[in-house]
């Protein structure tokens, strides 16, 4: 409880300090942020639309990290998920739109999962740490995206390097087209329940926690450590790929070189702020989603421009990472000296 209050307090303080440093009127800016994130139906829809990719990638990071696989490659898995989705949409062109929607979603999941699985298999069989390999795979994915939208996925009728636009029927429903809300967002929230149930009520989820906490002991308990690590990464990448497919089918409609918006990187502070817990991650994703939506309003209404918004977001992320580090240290005071409280 104190932990939550401290975190919330620190985040609020960081926001106020950053606004003040940019010479913005603090109270007005805060009210702009509040209005831009929660003030109207459109604002709330915007907050939810920003929350969805953060939430899905955050859940992905959470599962991998819980299993001790420090996946830094959410971004790359997101990109590959998006690419596979766009590719599937191209291949299945002409099929009924519901089929295309489903196929795009599944391909996104599969693409992200396989891309993460590659890193996991490299660690399990060749000893290449995922911390390193997933970072490098991010770069490959981004280069792949740039190439694909200028090459095989390029919309021939477009003058810019981008994939073809999806027809409306394939896209998720937008009940009110004036707002950003689309039905894909609901899938992101359903994923919280799925991940929660997976970690809490299945044997595999239970074993993942063990493997993450102590792989040696997990092996001694006859758990298949390598296979579980790969499983965790498949889930992780699959969720990041799903995030991409939902963005693609929700608002983006097409891929171009700037399809990724750092969601896969932002997922890490989201998952950390959420205490690597599904419910906590939901709260953290909502916070960041609201902050992003609110900051967009701030950028529109003040002269500081978009760069101040990036700073505000970055400071929030740094605060979260810093607090996470402090928590990590304070959570194991007994292990510092030898024997504990004997």
């Amino acid at each position: 409880m104190t932990r939550i209050l401290v975190t919330a307090g620190a985040l609020a303080l960081a926001l106020v300090v950053t606004l003040a440093l940019f010479g913005l009127p603090v109270f007005e800016s805060l009210s702009t942020i509040a209005r831009g994130s929660l003030g109207s139906e459109a604002s709330i829809a915007r907050t939810l639309a920003r929350t969805a990719p953060l939430l899905l990638t955050g859940l992905g990071i959470l599962i991998a990290w819980r299993a001790g696989m420090f996946n830094i490659g959410g971004e790359g898995q997101y990109v590959v998920g998006g690419l596979c989705g766009a590719w599937a949409a191209m291949v299945f062109q002409g099929q009924s739109s519901a089929v295309i929607t489903l196929v795009v979603l599944l391909s996104g999941v599969a693409g992200g999962a396989l891309y993460a699985g590659l890193a996991a298999v490299l660690q399990v069989t060749r000893g290449v740490q995922v911390v390193i390999s997933t970072i490098l795979l991010n770069f490959i994915a981004l280069a792949l995206l740039k190439w694909a939208v200028a090459g095989p996925l390029r919309d021939p009728s477009s003058t810019r390097p981008q994939s073809s636009a999806l027809p409306d029927a394939v896209m998720f429903l937008r009940p009110n087209p004036q707002t950003d809300f689309h039905t894909g967002i609901v899938l992101a929230f359903l994923a919280v329940i799925v991940v929660f149930v997976f970690l809490r009520f299945t044997a595999t989820g239970f074993r993942l926690k063990w493997v993450g906490a102590n792989p040696v002991a997990a092996h001694t308990q006859r758990m298949k450590v390598g296979r579980l690590q790969v499983t965790a990464m498949l889930w992780s990448g699959g969720l990041c790929g799903l995030a991409a497919a939902i963005s693609y089918l929700g608002l983006a409609r097409r891929l171009d070189a700037s399809f990724t918006e750092n969601w896969g990187f932002l997922a890490i502070p989201v998952a950390l702020l959420g205490g690597l817990d599904p419910i906590g991650t939901l709260v953290a994703a909502l916070y960041f989603g609201a902050l992003f939506a609110g900051c967009e309003a701030l950028a529109r209404e003040t002269s500081v421009g978009t760069s101040a918004v990036f700073v505000i977001q970055a400071v929030a992320v740094l605060v979260v990472v810093g607090l996470g580090r402090l928590q990590l240290q304070s959570s194991r005071p007994e292990s510092k000296p030898a024997g504990g409280a004997e």
Partner: protein
Amino acid sequence: MSEATLRVEGVTKAFGSVVALNAVSVEFLPGEVHAVLGENGAGKSTLMNVLGGFLTPDEGTVSYRGEALPLGQAAEMRQRGFAMVHQHFMLVPNFTVGENLALDALQDLRGRLAQPDLIASALERAKSLGWSIDVDDRTDDLPVGTQQRIEILKALAGPSDVIIFDEPTAVLVPSEVEELLGLLRRLAEEGRIVILIAHKLSEILAVADRITVLRRGRVVAQTTQMEANAAQIAEWMVGDVPAPQSPLQEALGEKAVRVKDLVVSGDRGEPAVRGISFEIRSGEVLGIGGVDGNGQTELAEAVAGIRSRKGGDIVTPNGVAFIPPDRQRAGLALSLSVEDNLWSGPVQRRQGLVLNRKRLWNWSRGVVQDYEIKVGNLSDPVRSLSGGNQQKVVVGRELSESPGLLVVVNPTRGLDVRATEFVHRRILDAARAGAAVLLISTDSDELAALAHRILYLSRGELRDSLVGATA
């Protein structure tokens, strides 16, 4: 009273709601070996960590040579001559011996790093003790006994007017224990204050000039070697004297375990177990003694089915329970809850897809009661338990569903008298219920108390006696 007295006065330290030390006052005199005794959780380690500078007490003072000490500042305390030999060695496993010694002697990070200069005094000390140390050995390749010697050299290389040994005999074989006790005497005779924490009363009585007994964070008694009496001390510690265990006399069952020409490699592919054969009947406890690092871990893991074998055959009955030698490394996930640490037992045995949380919860409550595990809440991390209770979690998890084969390695390392007796009883219960038990231990008392037969491991081969089996 001598000038160089170490005076602990009214020290209190609480961890949350647990009061680990409650107004403890003790005086330590130079030239004496002073033993501090107590059950697990009595506050011994906390007291030692205060003296080592690792913990700041909530109340009370500690003074040495009449000066108040900078408590909670480990580096400063080390400068004042307080050295500690930890129960869990403070060595960097993938450093060489020389690097570990140099690391400890390093004053700061400025200037040139000259390992030979830094470790000269430690090597000289080793020479005077008659120890041969190869500075280029990788630390984690060495047997536990040798690692302890490095730990001791680290302590002696710097200023070491007060030297604290935290349960140093737990990992040693009898001949090594004897040598260590001799060393303690010698250090005291050189005018040091030697503080010893140990469980075995016989060892303490043999070496300690003065004995302080802690129970639940309080000093309950102090005595000298002259007046000490084992039964009396045990009573102070636990309130009653545990009855010594004796091996079973019941008739043994069928041959349950058959191991033939077993060959197993170590972690780096080196031959660890070199073609050994034995059989265990159901209900029988086969004890395997010998010095650490002679293939014990590899043998145990191979028989338990966790390590693949390079050659030979193993036949085991259904239901293999395994109590690994190092609970913190291989037995428990310290950051997970007590609950999670218990549940892995049934979850792994049943291999179902879905957790029946309610049934698991009820089951784990039962284990906590049966095994007298002292825990406030099942969702507390297992790290917050004392060593004895942690071991009970492992034993409870492994034994609560009567196994066909029980493989146990050093099950009571670092446990106090009462917890040791408890674990022993549970192992014997398992045997009585029909389990074949492979007990691998470096503690000859433990082997004598539990085993029907005792064999010895030396360089990966089995011998009939310990003669020639010491390292």
